[in-house]
Every structure is written in C-alpha cells, then in structure tokens.
C-alpha cells in the first residue's frame, strides 16, 4: 500500500513537471525567435536600409523602402474594404440581430477566418486580377481586406456587447432612437476596444505572404499606380530568403526584424490597452 502511494505521488510529480517543461519549452521558442532575429537582422538594419530601393543583384547595399510603402498601401486598401464591413456587421450582431440568422453569420465568419490564406489568394486572383488583367495593389489589398473582416467583426461585436445596458436605456429614456443611441452612446463607449480589434486585424494581415504572391506580385521598384504590381515586406522576406545570394539572406533577416517588430509592437500595445480596460471595468 505504501509502495502504491509512493508510486502515485511519483507519477504526480513527474507528470506535473513535464507539463511545466512543455510550457517552458514553448515560451523559450518565442525568446529564441526574437533573440535570433535581433542578432541576425540588427547587423544590417540601418536608416539606409529603410529608405533606399533594392540594389541590383551583385551590388551591396540597397534597402526595402518600396516594400515598406507598399505594405502601407496594401494595408490602407485592406482597411478601407474590410473595416466598414466588419464594423457594420459587428453592430448588426450585437444590436439588431435575431437568433438563427446571427448564428449563421457568426459561424460563417469563423469559417472564413479559418480559410487558408493561399485560398484567399486564389479568390482575389480570380475576382480582381483576371478581370483587370493585371497584378495590382488593389488585388493585394482586396485579398488582405477579406482576411481582416472576421477579426474586426468578432472584436466589434464582443466589445459592443460588453457595453452595459444601462447606458443604452439612459439614451433611449432621453428620447434618442435606437440608431442614434448606437452611434452616439454605444459605439463611443466601446471605441477603444473596437480600434484595438482593427489594429490586431491589420497586424495579422500585415505579415501575410501567401495571398500576395499572385495578387500584389512584388516589385523591384516603386509601384507606379494602384493598378500596378507592388512590393510588400513579407514578399521581400520570402524572395530574399529563398534566393541564392548571401547579401539577400542578410537583408531577409533585417526585413524580418522590421516586420516582426511592427507586428509585435502593435500586438503588445493593443493587448496592454485591452487588459487595462477590462480590469478597470471590473
């Protein structure tokens, strides 16, 4: 009996330590990624790198300015397309929606969120690139825009629902209509949360490569218009990393550091704002 008890306690300690070890391992991976990127990318990161065009093959130097601007343009279009849809549907689900239809919308949104990004690329290619006969900034922005819808939508709904009903009732009691209540009271009360959700959505699509491969396509130079191919940071990282030249590899690290830095800063900042907000609400 004593032996059995000892055995059970030993199993207890061993298994629980193993769960701890898997946590440590996972968290260590993040710090390894960060450290390794900073170590490798930091060497080539300079003002020059951020503000110059790519150098011709064989020449040293050059930068990713066109890719940074290109990513910005793609995100702008993604935002113009995806955010209004996400916002309005979020408002519908939180304020107007019935039961069955809302469930269908919510479920579809979750499934849309899980569609592999390469498939979204095919979608944008067939819908925008083929009719326009051109790889373009618009097509890339559309692909990314589709991907921002689910995240914006769900976070908008969630934060609108978190607004206390007493606020709505107060506005209605003062004679405001439902829409007026939503626009002047409910949405402003949830504004910081909604903006956070939008930022997270943009941060996520900013790192997407697969949907851009055959929509934005990439460009060695400045893009000459919204209907022309455009470069983007993830595309540059991909092309440089699989390329054969040592200087390209170094630049891939540096560009990777820029991208990861942007994504992590947005994520950390918005999540901190969020946690402060939710703890204040408690």
């Amino acid at each position: 009996m004593n032996l059995r008890m000892f055995w059970r306690k030993a199993v207890n300690v061993i298994m629980l330590s193993l769960t701890g070890a898997s946590t440590v391992l996972t968290v260590a991976v993040l710090f390894f990624i960060l450290g390794y990127l900073v170590y490798n990318g930091g060497k080539d990161l300079s003002w020059h790198f951020l503000t110059r065009l790519p150098a011709p093959v064989g020449e040293t130097g050059g930068g990713v300015a066109n890719a940074i601007v290109g990513s910005g343009k793609l995100l702008l279009i993604a935002m113009l397309f995806g955010v209004p849809i996400g916002l309005l549907v979020g408002i519908y689900l939180a304020e107007f929606g019935g039961k069955t239809f809302s469930f269908v919308v919510r479920y579809t949104t979750d499934l849309l969120n899980g569609v592999p990004s390469i498939v979204i690329g095919i979608f944008a290619y067939s819908l925008v690139v083929v009719p326009m006969r051109h790889f373009s900034t618009l097509a890339g922005g559309f692909a990314l825009g589709v991907m921002t819808i689910p995240i914006t939508l769900r976070s908008t709904e969630q934060f609108l629902r978190a607004v206390p009903n007493s606020l709505r009732e107060a506005a209605l009691a003062l004679g405001a209509g439902k829409w007026k209540t939503i626009v002047t009271v409910v949405v402003p009360a949830a504004a910081s949360g909604i903006i956070t959700g939008i930022m997270l959505a943009l941060a996520r699509v900013a790192g997407e490569t697969a949907p851009l491969l055959f929509t934005a396509f990439g460009n060695q130079f400045w893009s000459s218009g919204w209907n022309q191919p455009v470069s983007a940071l993830p595309l540059v990282i991909y092309n440089y990393a699989i390329g054969p030249y040592q200087t390209w590899h170094e630049q891939a690290w540096a560009a990777g550091l820029v991208l990861l830095g942007l994504v992590l800063v947005v994520n950390i900042a918005t999540r901190l704002v969020l946690s402060r907000k939710t703890s204040a609400a408690r």
């Binding site: 059970r8 207890n12 298994m15 629980l16 193993l18 769960t19 701890g20 898997s22 946590t23 391992l25 996972t26 991976v29 993040l30 990624i33 390794y36 990127l37 490798n40 209004p84 849809i85 309005l88 408002i91 519908y92 689900l93 107007f96 239809f101 269908v104 919308v105 579809t108 499934l111 849309l112 899980g114 569609v115 592999p116 390469i118 498939v119 979204i120 690329g121 095919i122 979608f123 067939s126 819908l127 939508l153 209509g177 829409w179 900013a206 790192g207 490569t209 697969a210 491969l213 055959f214 993830p234 990282i237 991909y238 990393a241 699989i242 990777g256 990861l260 992590l264 950390i268 999540r271």
Partner: protein, 332 residues
C-alpha cells in the same frame, strides 16, 4: 394602438395610417430601420463573400474536374508539359507533415495548457498566455526564414544523422537527408501550431467548474489524477476542437512549409526525404501555370484544401462552443 387613442402623439404626420405601419414609418424616419436594413445587408454580404469564394473555386476548377474526375486524387503524375495532373503526392505530403506535426504538438500543447490552467498561479498563467499569444501572431514567413536558416541545418547536421544511426532500421528514417524535407516541415509546423492548441485548451480547461476538481481531490486523488481523470475528460470536446483548429492551420499553412519542404512531387516513405504539399505547389506554380487545365488543376487543389479546412474548422467550433457551455452551465 391607434393614433387617435394616444394622447401624447396627437395626430402626427400620418394620422390616417394604422398603428403598426405608422410606428414603422416613425422609426424609419429616425433612421432605425434604415440602419437595421443596411447592417443586415452587410451581414448577408459576409455570407455572400464566403459563398462566392466556394463558387469561384468550383467554376475555375471545372476543366480539371471534368478531365480527371476522381482519378485526380489517386494518380501521382504531375506533368505540366503533357498536361497529366495527379494530386496524390501533394495530398500525401500535406497529410504526412500535418500528422507528424500534430503527434509532436499535441502532447506539448495540451501539457502546457494543463500547466497554465491547473498549476500556475493566475498572474503567471496570464503572463505566459500573453507571451504564447504573441507567438501565434508571428507571421508565417518569419517561421519560414528561421526554418531555412536554423531548422534545416539542425536537421541536416544533427537530427537526421542521429535518427539514421539509432532508428535507421525503420523505413521512415531511411536514406540521406539534405536538411529540407517532410520532417523539417513538420518541425516548423509544430512550432507554429502549438500556441493555438495551448490558448484554446487553456480556455476550455479553465471553464471546467472547480467543484469537479475539488470532488476528485476530496476523494484522495493526487493533483495529476484529478487533472487527467476528471478535468481533462470534462474538457475533452474543447481540447479535441483545439486540435482540429491546429490541424486545419497545419494543412493550410503555406509559406513556412514551402520554404523547407523541398518541393519535390514524390511519394517517399522516409520522413527525411523531400516532399511537396498542396499549399506549397499552389504558391510555387500558380503564376507560372500556362494553359487552362494547369491553372484549373491548381485551383482544384485549392478547392480541396478549402473544403477540408472548412469541415475541420466547423467541427472544431461546435466542439469548443459546446464544451464551454457545459462548463458555464456547471458553474451556474
């Protein structure tokens, strides 16, 4: 309620209309109904976009579907010059890399989730969950770069020679390794999907009512026994859901896999050999696809990928929601 019987609204702009209609017109004038209809249209738009996605994939793969039928999935010739397209090597590579990644990621992810939900103090658990969420936010192309420059040399110089010398008698570890290959892709996928398993599993484990644990502990179970025999079975549906989510993500992952899997359409029994996946072949060959049949074959692959992930995600959502509701009901 008719207009004349309401003293606060004497007459109004439409005194002759019956009450319900008048009420509607009143609300319409204030914009409420317009807002309702407009937001409803946008909500329908989301469903429409998803429907359009399916339609586009279906129509644009018609040539390939008609030319090959079901044989598309059972033949392994991929020859753009003679326009013979069989998807078997890609299906094989996709399934193998995802399954190996799951075999590695599930114990790691569920283990870490148990630690965070059951053992760690709430503050530590929240802080670590925060870090793990960041890990999930790292763009896949970054994992690809690390894969090429860190995991590939590691597999080539350390892991593959070790596996060959110790487990080389197994067919799955036979043959030379160039670093790139199915095993390397699986390792990179493992790192990418673990955060998903952890964050969803942690949520469902924390939704298990505390009295379940207390009952087990009161009966003399050790902490581990209460966790593995009571808490985990209670949250089983949600954990399975998190695994489905992770699997859908692994199947559809493009960039990181494309960069390390070797991009060779062969069916090799060894994990050390190079392979190819559905997402990778679309990424590599889509812009080079000449001719309708070639393009449609690639889009049909996209359709397959879409349907499989769609089903997995659908099941996962149902499992997670039902588990969390069960926990919530137990709490109340």
């Amino acid at each position: 309620m008719s207009a004349s019987s309401n003293p606060t609204l004497p007459g109004g702009p439409f005194p002759a209309l019956p009450g319900r209609v008048r009420h509607f017109v009143e609300r319409f004038r204030r914009g409420d109904e317009i807002a309702h209809v407009v937001t409803l249209i946008f909500a329908a738009g989301v469903i429409l976009i998803t429907g359009l996605l399916v339609y586009v994939l279906w129509v644009n793969s018609s040539a390939s579907r008609h030319a090959f039928g079901w044989k598309f999935f059972t033949t392994s010739a991929w020859d753009p010059v003679f326009e013979h397209f069989g998807a078997l090597p890609f299906l094989y590579g996709t399934v193998v890399t995802s399954i190996v990644a799951l075999v590695l990621a599930v114990p790691l992810g569920v283990g870490a989730a148990i630690f965070l939900a059951e053992l760690a103090p709430p503050r530590v658990s929240d802080a670590l969950a925060f870090v793990i969420d960041l890990l999930a936010a790292v763009p896949s192309v970054i994992y690809g770069v690390l894969g090429i420059f860190v995991v590939v040399p590691f597999v080539r110089d350390i892991l593959a020679p070790f596996l060959e010398s110790t487990l080389g008698f197994l067919p799955i570890f036979k043959g030379p390794s160039y670093g790139i290959g199915l095993l390397t892709a699986s390792l990179v996928l493992t790192i990418m999907i673990v955060p998903f398993i952890i964050s969803v599993s942690r949520e469902v484990l924390m939704a298990v009512p505390p009295d379940q644990r207390e009952a087990a502990l009161a009966l003399g179970a050790t902490r581990w026994e209460s966790t593995i025999r009571v808490v985990v079975p209670f949250a089983r549906g949600g954990i399975t859901g998190s695994i489905f989510l992770a699997m859908a993500r692994a199947l559809g992952e493009t960039m990181a896999v494309t960069m390390v899997v070797g991009n060779d359409p062969k069916i090799a029994s060894s994990l050390l050999a190079p392979g190819y996946t559905i997402a990778a072949v679309i990424a590599n060959e889509f812009t080079e696809a000449t001719g309708t049949l070639y393009l449609h074959a690639l889009i049909e692959l996209g359709l397959v990928l879409f349907l499989v992930t769609f089903i997995l995600n659908g099941l996962a959502r149902l499992l997670i929601v039902s588990t969390e509701q069960r926990g919530g009901a137990g709490n109340a």
